[in-house]
Amino acid sequence: MKLSDQLKEEAKDISVLYVEDEEPTRCQITQILSLFFKEVVVASNGLEALNLYKKSPTDLIMTDLTMPQMTGLEMIKEVKKIEPKQHIVVLTAHNSSENIMETMDLQIDGFLLKPMKMDRMLTLLHKVTHTINLEKSETVCTH
């Protein structure tokens, strides 16, 4: 089975909050995510994302780091306060080690470097959605 089909299968019941300040990129990625995920919530900066998350948490957050008002890092810190086990994928153009070192502490599920490569994106999203689904089924089983 193709990777895209596998992802479609894994993500069909999963919601994602996607945070990106650059409009053209945001449009395209939103369209891509909509191909796979059950629900795609979109925010254009950290603060907006945090507010949306507080209202209704999603299974996965996919966020950029460098953004006005509230950076991705600041937002992640706040979200982790609310839900320490929140699954997060970081999208970043900053391939500088400093930023990555900081996010390591925050228990991130994975990184996608911008500009993105399709295979890597699909692979990572597949892996993360698979994990989320496993957790979900464990939760269902234990109850």
């Binding site: 990129t25 953004m67 994106m121």
Partner: protein
Amino acid sequence: MYTLNHKYENQQSLETWLEENEFASEDSCLVQFFCGVPTEEMMQEVSSVLTKKLPNAHIIGSTTDGEMMGNEVFLKSIIISVSVFQDTKINSIDIAYTTNSYDMGYEIAKKLDAVETKAMILFTTGLAINGEKFLDGVYDISKGEYVVSGGLASDNGEFTQTYVSHQDKVIAKGAVGIVLSSKTLKVKNNYKFGWKAVGLPMRITKSKDNMVYRVNNMPIIDVYKKYFGEYISSKLPKIGVEIPLIVKRYNKKIARAPLNRYDDGSLLFAGNLIEGEEVRFGIGSVEHIVKEADKICSEFHGNSKPETVFVYSCMARRRLLETQANVELQQIAKKTTVSGFFTNGEFFSDKDRNYLMNESMTVLALSESEFEDNTSVVIDKESTEIKLEDNKLIYALTHMTNVIAQEWQERLDQEIYKNKEQDKNNFQNNKLIQMGEMIGMIAHQWRQPLNAISATSINLSLLSSMEMLEDEKLQKDSEFMQEQCQKMSDTIDTFMNFVKPAKESKTFKLVHTVDLIMQIMGTQLANHNIKVTVDAKDENISLDGYEDLLEQVIINILANARDAFNKIGDINSINIESDRFIKITVQERDSIPVISIEDNAGGIPKEIQEKIFNPYFTTKEQGKGTGIGLFMSMDIMKKSFHGDLEYRLTENGSIFDIVCGGGGEYR
């Protein structure tokens, strides 16, 4: 023509000499007398005898600091020099000082000026006359068409009272002169210097005409004290002629000797020294003086042989050579009749201007006949060397001084060369850093379109593989990607324009410079979450110069601010990151354009503030900063904009004021 000289003993012997030579019957007779007894009485006595005995002659006289006759130099004697011409008309005149030295020069030359003028010999009293301005006045009549010679009267170096005379009239403040006009008279003038410039170049920092107040921003008397010691400087002005200042003008080395000193530490010189002029001390070198004097003689060789030579030489030469002062007359005296005196300043001329010399030997050679010189000039080295033997200590010290000075200069030149190389390296390093900055900025500018293109192509690819791709979407996204590519290409153009080497010097608006920088740096700063505001108090504030240099300075400071934010960002909390700002203000302060760049990145600790403009000082971690940036920025502001770069600490950060003008330490 011929010249005969007489050394005065008493009135009787002078009268006898004049009668014996039958000068009274000559039509064209020039008499000069050089009086080493600088009193009015003596001047009167001699001029009265001469006028009485030679009523048709033109008689001028001057007090001196030594007299010359043949190959001998006398002190406190009186030399009478009578020149008889065949085909030359002579006229003479005196003029009292009235309004100023220039007018005096202009008037005397105007009154003497005649058809076929070949030479003018002028004597002026030697104190309180600005010889340079006097000669400027003369030049406005002579226009370089004939030779101007003569000098300032002296008084045995007493600097109290000098006199000149015309016929039997003795003048305490004024000028006298004769003019020689002829079809056949051949005239040649020459000068020799022989003082060597020693020590480092200094700058006249305050002067008015021939009054000098400050050199290198120090009272001039202290400068003399510093280099020559308390004892010698206490002997100023008397000793000044031996340690003059040397200035180079129109490719001629001209010495300026101090004539008087004042309580405020200023000195009056025997000629003008202009504010901003570069001067060096001159040291008389015996060896050099003699060599130069020999040269003057050999330079006449090949021309028609002079029938008479008048020498007007600086008193300093006599004082330096002391008893051997006649050494420099030896070679000339072998060829012709020589007479003259030691002056407070010599007059020399070429076709472009008149010069007031100090420390020089000026020579006026005259001849009415076409006479090939067949006697070869043999420089009598032996006699010169024997004479120098008596002066060996002066010779040795002068030589040593000059050698030390030369060594000093060489070492200094090396240092200057090294510094220049260092500057060049600094400049190149800075250029490299700036290039690095530029690449960083391009990267930021490109990331956005690159991300958008990559996201779009992924989207298209997925839609296609899922057989969901509609034509309309494909068209729209292709156009979008082309647009993005265009954007990236535009970025390259902007940057290429920016890194183009050495833009021309022109008038530019500061707002334009800041805009340009924001175009290339704005994205990067925004990506660092820094909010940049530009506040132009006046859009029209402009500057003359190289805009790219100012750009370098601004980029440098902005890049420092950006790095400073990153540094505190590591430690501090979220809030600060959200409030990051850089504020650029363009305004005029006391009508000087100032660009202020304020940030709230924490500021520079007091203890290192002093060091930030030093070369190679950096607070950045190894490999990130070279410490050249602010040093170079300061250098650019001072050297290229006569401005400054100032630092102020604020509550949460820094303000750098880029001051575009207003002086600074460089010219």
